[in-house]
């Protein structure tokens, strides 16, 4: 049974302090990420720890922990390799990437290699369809992968290297990533600055820039109307419209048979114009 370190306990207190005092249960998701940062998964001890610091029972914590995909229920490797196999990435080659990795690593979905380096999973849409097919390592992106580039990445990871993601920060371990997921800053020098925008993100912008297109008429000093002014303007517009309508209806009353008097369109138009002119 793991005894969580004093550092983890201090972090837990910091997490709980982010939320209103009588709403400490809001800290449960970050706390579950936190226990994964020490153990690599949510163990029975992790569940007990969360229950203890929040004053919940273990069943309440367990029910939440088992609901979310990112809380792992058995030990994980240093690197979680997630391959998107949702429709778009799938048809662009993502399924082949996943199948190749599974065969090469000798593991299936949510399984870890014997050397404890890599956990493989097929993931649902990772919100990078313009870079498809994509995979992530500890949730940082490797874009436009194919079977070979994906193999190169996992081989380098197993050999102790840390390939640089296409977008995102330099890699850390899955446990280190869990600290960030618990809401703590990435303290590694340069990590926040890593990863500039990729071309697909900028394509529309580049087209606009190359063709000298911008949205005209933007004046940052445009005054904010007070609500009273806006209400007045709206009321005036409404009154004007109503007057026009009333004038139109008076000159062109509904027929005795109560059917809509819509036939004399030209007459109505004329009446509306007259009403406008009277204003």
């Amino acid at each position: 049974m793991t005894v969580f370190t004093e550092e983890t306990r201090a972090r837990a207190r910091e997490i709980i302090a982010r939320y209103p005092a009588d709403r400490s249960r809001s800290a449960l998701l970050p706390l579950l990420h936190l226990v994964q940062s020490e153990e690599g998964y949510v163990s029975p001890a992790g569940v007990e720890f969360c229950a203890e610091v929040l004053g919940l029972n273990k069943a309440q914590v367990g029910a939440v922990a088992t609901f979310y995909t990112m809380y792992k229920r058995k030990p994980t490797g240093d690197y979680l390799v997630s391959v998107c196999t949702n429709t778009m990435c799938n048809v662009l080659g993502g399924q082949q990437v996943y199948d190749t990795l599974a065969e090469h690593l000798g593991v299936g979905h949510d399984e870890t290699t014997e050397d404890g380096k890599i956990t493989l999973e097929h993931a649902e849409c990772l919100a990078a369809c313009d870079y498809g097919p994509v995979m992530t390592v500890n949730y940082d992106f490797f874009d436009n992968v194919d079977a070979q580039t994906a193999l190169d990445v996992v081989d380098e990871l197993r050999a102790g290297g840390r390939p640089m993601p296409t977008r995102g920060a330099r890699l850390c371990t899955l446990k280190e990533m869990a600290v960030q997921l618990a809401g703590f800053a990435d303290e590694r020098p340069g990590a926040v600055a890593d990863g500039g925008p990729g071309e697909p993100s900028l394509r529309g912008l580049r087209l606009a820039e190359q063709n000298g297109i911008s949205v005209p008429g933007f004046d940052p000093n445009t005054p904010i109307r007070s609500k009273a002014e806006a209400d007045q303007a709206a009321a005036a517009a409404k009154a004007k419209a109503e007057a026009a309508q009333a004038a139109g209806a008076a000159a062109n009353p509904p027929a005795a048979d109560r059917k809509p008097a819509g036939d004399a369109a030209r007459a109505q138009q004329r009446n509306l114009k007259e009403a406008e002119a009277q204003k």
Partner: protein
């Protein structure tokens, strides 16, 4: 590759995406040089009610898929009720095909933070949360850094810029559940529960986070606010259409020459978007596409000229959704595409409502059978019947969304199904993948 015509190029409206070209815009110093936090200074001098009115006047509608008028939503928050108010940003981007919020938060996180402060001031909230998808780690890194910088500069915390207004902002990472993009499930998740949708009414405007008045808005919605505060409602309405105002980030993926993000005036058509994206890939002809993610019914080449605004897409029998246009060609199979989406809904159903939980489970199995060449004509009726029993019979939109691609693909591509069933198309799934399909 073709060059877009000038009239098509003129539909590009770089507003929310503009700072992405400045590689350091995620740093507060650069952001401030690019108009950053000018809107906040301006907003703090106005009365909160005037800001709500401004957003109403702009016609801004939610960018998360439903298109609800934002100013109206803010106006629903009861004022002077003595209860704490909350602003919650839905940054749980996960609708298949959707990929606009992650780059925004990664490359221009301060625009979201600034929007959060203005919106919180308008609805009188002293606590705000950004619920960001767990997997979006780099966007979260940049966002947490931006929040830290904003605190250090006095834009957040006690007495924001000496205005007397206090605001605490927490960036809260999710843990991998698509359903938490549904606003009431998100609130449950933020309270530390399983992310399952709540029955409405009551609505979050009166009983949201911690049963208090809460506004839940998408990233793009909140990031639009500083621009409206600066440029005014009339300027905002120079873009888009009468009922769908402003710019919109269209996310193009799939069989086009240049997939990516194209921020355009709302109401642009797919034909024009494909033109901007350099045309289809060589050897590919458009066959089917989603206008706004996998929960929106499929459209076809017949719909190339449908205006992509809330009304236009609805008139064509689909939904604008998140403007995630996933473009498939004659080399892609609509039956297989639908099957993969259904696997997704089956995996992501939270299990609360029987029609969604059981219906998706069984439909996946029917699809596997069809794709393995063992389907029957009766299976097609079973699919439609199952959809009938899911649509409108679940708490939230996930169930409805799951049926979209099934019913629309059966409507437009029934022959593709029959080709599997009658043996004209070779089976796409092997026996191994069919385990448990019967």
């Amino acid at each position: 590759m073709t060059t877009p015509r000038p009239e098509t190029l003129a539909k590009l409206t770089p507003v929310l995406t503009k700072r992405w070209l400045s590689p350091d815009a995620w740093r507060i110093g650069t952001y401030e040089k690019l108009d950053g936090y000018a809107a906040l200074r301006k907003a703090l001098k106005a009365h909160p009610d005037d800001l709500i009115q401004l957003i109403k006047d702009s016609g801004l509608r939610g960018r998360g898929g439903a298109g609800f008028p934002t100013g109206l939503k803010w106006g629903f928050i009861p004022q002077g009720d003595g209860k704490p108010h909350y602003l919650v940003v839905n940054a749980d981007e996960g609708e298949p095909g959707t990929c606009k919020d992650l780059p925004l938060m990664t490359h221009d996180p301060h625009s979201l933070v600034e929007g959060v402060i203005i919106a919180s001031y308008a609805i009188r909230a002293n606590r705000a949360y950004i619920y960001i998808r767990g997997e979006a780690v780099h966007a979260a890194r940049r966002l947490r850094n931006a929040v830290q910088e904003a605190y250090a500069k006095g834009y957040l915390g006690k007495n924001v810029l000496g205005s007397g207004f206090d605001l605490e902002l927490v960036v809260h990472s999710g843990a991998g559940a698509y359903i938490c993009g549904e606003e009431t499930a998100l609130l449950d998740s933020l309270e530390g529960f399983r992310g399952q949708p709540r029955l409405r009414p009551p609505f979050p405007a009166t009983h949201g986070l911690y049963a208090s008045p809460t506004v839940v808005n998408n990233v793009g919605t909140i990031a639009s606010v500083p621009y409206i505060v600066l440029g005014g409602a009339d300027w905002w309405k120079t873009m888009g259409t009468e009922k769908s105002s402003g710019p919109m980030i269209y996310s193009l993926s799939g069989r086009i020459a240049n997939p990516g993000q194209y921020e355009c005036s709302m109401g642009i058509t797919l034909r024009e978007l494909i033109e901007l994206a350099g045309g289809m890939q060589p050897g590919h002809n458009l066959r089917f596409w989603t206008p706004g993610g996998s929960s929106t019914p499929l459209l076809t080449a017949e719909h190339l000229d449908v205006p992509l605004d809330f009304e236009g897409v609805a008139a064509a029998g689909s939904i604008l959704g998140t403007t995630a246009t996933q473009i498939f060609s004659d080399q892609d199979c609509p039956v297989y595409a639908t099957y993969r989406w259904l696997e997704f809904y089956h995996h992501e159903s939270c299990g609360k409502c029987t029609p969604c939980r059981e219906g998706n489970y069984w439909m996946v199995r029917v699809y596997r059978r069809i794709l393995a060449g063992e389907g029957t004509h009766e299976d097609l009726d079973t699919l439609l019947d199952t959809c009938d029993n899911i649509l409108g019979r679940s708490f939230c939109g996930l169930g409805d969304g799951a049926t979209s691609s099934v019913t629309s693909s059966l409507k437009y591509f029934k022959q593709d199904y029959l080709d599997y069933i009658e043996g004209r198309t070779a089976p796409k799934l092997s026996d191994k993948q069919l385990v448990g399909a019967h």
